[in-house]
Amino acid sequence: MTGTFVGMPAFPAAARDALADTQLRHNLAHATATIRGKRAAVVGEVEHWEALRLAGAAVKERALHGLEDHLVRLEESLVARGAQVHWARDAAEANALVADVARRHGADEVVKVKSMATQEIGLNEALAAEGIAAWETDLAEMIVQLGDDLPSHILVPAIHRNRAEIREIFLRRMADVGRPAPADLTDEPAVLAAAAREHLREKFLRAKVGVSGANFAVADTGTLVVVESEGNGRMCLTLPEVLVTVVGIEKVVPTWAELDPLLRLLPRSSTGERMNPYTSTWTGVTPDDGPQEVHVVLLDNGRTRALADEVGRQALRCIRCSACLNVCPVYERVGGHAYGSVYPGPIGAILNPLLHGIGEGTGDPQSRSQVESLPYASSLCGACFEVCPVRIDIPEVLVHLRSKVVDAHRGDRVPKPEALAMRAAAHTLADAKRLGRAERLAGRVGRLVGRRGTTPRLPGPGAGWTDARDLPTPARESFRGWWRRTGGRLDGGENDG
């Protein structure tokens, strides 16, 4: 595994590999069940949780509906408080802006706060190409980075690694990039965390440039907010002389007061805590305290494309709490890597296609088909919507995006399996005689398969569908056949021999 998602296979193929990995499935099942339990307990404590969700959704919706105005105000207030504001249409532009700041300060390294936006744009790789090392300082991100691996969960990116693997990664790699791991390193979590503390403190104390994302950006005041647990965020936000913050344009919140419902919703939904250990806010430059040169990069990178989709727009409300991952039966079994993106799980299944566009000719054919496979990576059970603190109706958006995938491929020489299956189904269902024949056929296939004791693999165009799914064995007798034979009497209906 190399540290990039580019060129990943489409979801069904990636999922098949992941399903064979029993360690991964065990780690994931344990992790998601644990976080689910913690979340449920602290959410149960809040008297008006549903009203709070509605308020959180309303704040983000209001922010999106007036986005142009809020962005202009955000820029004004940031500049008034001594920050330098940059705009980036895409990943390359954002990366170049960050690299430029680092270069101007002669920095060959930066320390980073965990940030989805900088992962999305591939900042570390882009900086490496310029000879600038970007050190991830969140423990999990550091494990992923040292292991030359990919994050698999929004909140706990190294959830697919157990303590023995982490110890091995520290022993093998820390010395290459700084302070080595102590020789007597055990796999106790406290010992591993202490090793990370020592290793990174050296980097924090010498870093000139820090890079972060932001959980929220308040338009009215220019205040940026970072929510974290370990204190690595506080280190990156206060120790370096220069701070660059990359903020997706959807992170805007109109007013300071409107942070309230979001700060109540996020930690409980995310880590299952009443409040996360550390929240830092800063507004431009604070004289004699923290970085005295502060940059903010406002990033589009597909967000305006998502905004233009009236049904899909709500995905931009996402506050990256990861609750939807932890309740998703599909995510729990295949893990984050199968989604081929830094945004895995239910939110990734809608956000990636919305950011990249469906049938818009962006990217190479392989990554296009990867992205277009994602709206199908769901059972549409609805658990993600139930749990989402900002009430994103993920199933609604999934169905909407599926229709867009089918629409985008109507003219294809080789139609998508889904389209063919639907066309065949429409043909069969439209005529009673044809339906009867199909049912008898299905019954016969079922008998055949039942004897071999396996689940069937569909022939022809249906094969793509059954490649990654188990098909329930069809009933041995169709309802119509049973009715003809028994006249609807249950006593005569047994035909299982």
Partner: protein
């Protein structure tokens, strides 16, 4: 070609054509209203494995001194009240110490701006009695003094009375990680020990 700013804002405008902005903020429901906010705060912050001591106003100095291991090198912000500083043996007063210098002290003693009962959170707004942000970050032990009249019920009250133009640090327990098999470990990069001294007496808000 238009510059990035013009183009991004133009795309936003095009994407939202026909959508009406929502001019009024939506009020959020009220927060929790515990009966005894000070006791609630003490319980909730202890839940995060912070050490909590409640004391009378006259005993603050002793409570703070008791929170420090013998012989600890202590740093204080320049505006820490004199009666607390007097209880400490020869503390270092921060006058712009470097991070490396702070890395060599064992503990920091500060006041706070307010505390939130429902979530067990202390909020610093880094006035002179709390010091620069780095002061409460680099040393391994943070002793924080919370007066009863600084405790608010829940997050809405806190957001309502804080000044967003100041840098703020919200602290709920010591630094923690759950990144290794979801085992919670206290103290990764920030202080490993949070010691809260709650001063009784003045009426809570």
């Amino acid at each position: 070609m238009a510059d990035a700013r013009t183009q991004v804002l133009g795309r936003v405008r095009a994407a939202l054509a026909g959508t009406a902005p929502d001019p009024e903020p939506v009020p959020a429901p009220a927060g929790a209203r515990p009966g005894d906010v000070v006791a609630h705060f003490a319980e909730r912050v202890a839940d995060y494995r912070a050490t909590v001591v409640r004391c009378a106003p006259a005993d603050v100095g002793a409570a703070v001194a008791g929170a420090l291991p013998a012989g600890a090198r202590v740093v204080v912000p320049p505006g820490l009240p004199e009666e607390i500083r007097a209880a400490l043996a020869d503390p270092l007063v921060d006058d712009g110490l470097s991070a490396a210098e702070l890395d060599r002290v064992d503990a920091v003693v500060t006041a706070c701006r307010l505390a939130i009962a429902e979530t067990g959170t202390i909020v610093l707004d880094h006035r002179p009695d709390q010091g620069r942000r780095v002061l409460t970050l680099v040393p391994d032990r943070h002793v924080c003094i919370v007066r009863a009249d600084q405790v608010v019920a829940d997050v809405p009250e806190a957001v309502g009375s804080l000044d967003p133009t100041r840098a703020l640090t919200w602290i709920s327990g010591p630094s923690a990680t759950s990144d290794i098999e979801l085992d919670r470990v206290e103290g990764v990069h920030g202080p490993r020990h949070l010691h809260v001294v709650v001063v009784e007496g003045a009426e809570p808000r």
